[in-house]
């Protein structure tokens, strides 16, 4: 479904992503784990078209998306929940969700809103509230609900558990598996490797810009190097 081949991304002279190759098949949950600064967010931003790779290729549903505008990539069915949530703080919860549906026909929006509210009942209670007044967990739910409004085929989430209490992390991961069961393919970026590996089918490990390891999540969870570096033992 998504094939990233040998991409290289720079910030000026900083070579942030080095020859990264990864693949996500339809129906999977794939996780990309790695320490802070490894290049995870840069990789996702490049797939979404906000940053450009100097070489290599990114194909989604057999189309080269490395050359098309970010808003067109969303139209193709590839959405992202960015790191730090980035909800529109001055807009209401409902308006945020409507922005998520920007690429959709008006006729389908009401049903999609109900679907988002079913996944996140808290958002329905707060639909008229300005997003800036929500708690961190609620903002994460809003960011996820908002991304779902574009009816993505592939959803990329960048550290959805960041800064959340363990009980909320649990809830967020439950919803990710729920979305996957509904047919959305998932590419999940996490520093919380334990949680990520427990829900994912396959995993890639990113270290200082390069992929150092990949395989089935169940294998990596038992891998000694992964245990030492990312699972606290």
């Amino acid at each position: 479904m998504l094939k990233v081949t040998n991409i290289n991304v720079y910030y000026g002279a900083i070579h942030a992503v080095k020859d990264v190759t990864l693949e996500v098949n339809e129906g999977e949950i794939v996780t990309l784990i790695g320490a802070n600064g490894a290049g995870k967010s840069t990789t996702l931003q490049t797939i979404s078209g906000l940053l450009r790779s100097r070489s290599g290729n990114i194909s989604f549903l057999d189309e080269n998306i490395g050359v098309i505008a970010p808003h067109k990539i969303v139209e193709r069915g590839l959405a992202q929940v960015p790191e730090g949530r980035r909800v529109f703080l001055r807009m209401t919860v409902r308006e945020n969700l409507e922005m998520g549906a920007y690429t959709q026909k008006a006729s389908g929006v009401a049903a999609d809103l109900e679907h988002a509210y079913a996944l996140f009942p808290r958002l329905k209670e707060r639909q008229r509230q300005v997003a800036g007044t929500l708690s961190g967990g609620e903002q994460q739910m809003l960011a996820m609900g908002r991304a779902m409004m574009s009816r993505p085929k592939l959803l990329m989430l960048d550290e959805p558990s960041m800064g959340l209490a363990p009980i909320l992390v649990e809830q967020i991961f439950d919803i990710i598996t729920e979305m996957n069961r509904e047919g959305v393919t998932i590419l999940l970026v996490e520093q919380n490797a334990q949680m990520a590996l427990s829900v994912a089918n396959r995993a890639y490990v990113l270290e200082t810009g390069g992929i150092v390891l990949h395989g089935d999540a169940s294998e990596l969870i038992g891998n000694e190097d992964v245990k030492r570096a990312y699972l606290g033992g």
Partner: protein, 293 residues
Amino acid sequence: MSFLSHLISGVSLGSIYAIIALGYTMVYGIAKMLNFAHGDVIMVGAYACFFIVSRYGMSPLLGVLLSVAVCTLLGILIERLAYKPLRAAPSLAVLITAIGISYLLQNSAQLLWTSNPKVFTSVVGAGSLKFAGGRLSISVTAIVTIVICAVIMLALTWFTGKTKMGKAMRACSEDKGAAQLMGINVNFTISMTFAIGSALAAIAGVLLCSAYPTLMPTTGSMPGIKAFTAAVFGGIGSIPGALLGGTLLGIIEIFGKAYISTQLSDAIVFAVLIIVLLVKPTGLLGTRIQEKV
């Protein structure tokens, strides 16, 4: 009665500043740049109307419509050719470009139409209404100006609050990257913002010259600077702030002229701005953009 009459003149002049200030504030809110050529777009709009109505004797309505069309295209063109290539450039480079465009428009107008003042034919008509047994006289131009400003404010409030495009503009003004991840075409949205701001500039130019009928290549310059002041005064980026700032500025200017000194009225206007900014650096209705968590 003279107090009331000055107040109405002040609100009327302030309405023109407010309409111009909307253009500054909307463009600043979304493109995060000060479009210093905005005042000169007003001048181009006024010339367009002047030629259609005074030279070719066509109807004032047609004059206004064509003036709006010319300015809308001009605004889109300026953004596309001068500002879009600088989207990633430092803001100082963009500012200097905007000042350059301002001079380009003024000098082109001088070349094309000379710097001789033209007498603008009002698109509203010269009459005035008498109240209180003839002691209070209000020009039709003043009334029309105030009404049009009110209509524009209501329309813009509806547009940004209720329409898909308007909400997309607010999303872009908060976070362009996140807006792109929603599937919003940010370049198109910025282009639309320039179109709306410039269309409003045309209306402001026609109203301004209907009230003060001398038209020259520099006609837009001073009102442009004052409207920019009004936008900052009210809180740059805020639409109600542009209305409040513009109206107050107009009132202060007319009262300053009437009760203090004609020569000093501009100095008074800018002194008030400085005091407001010292007390409240974000302007009257401006808010600091919240830090992201």
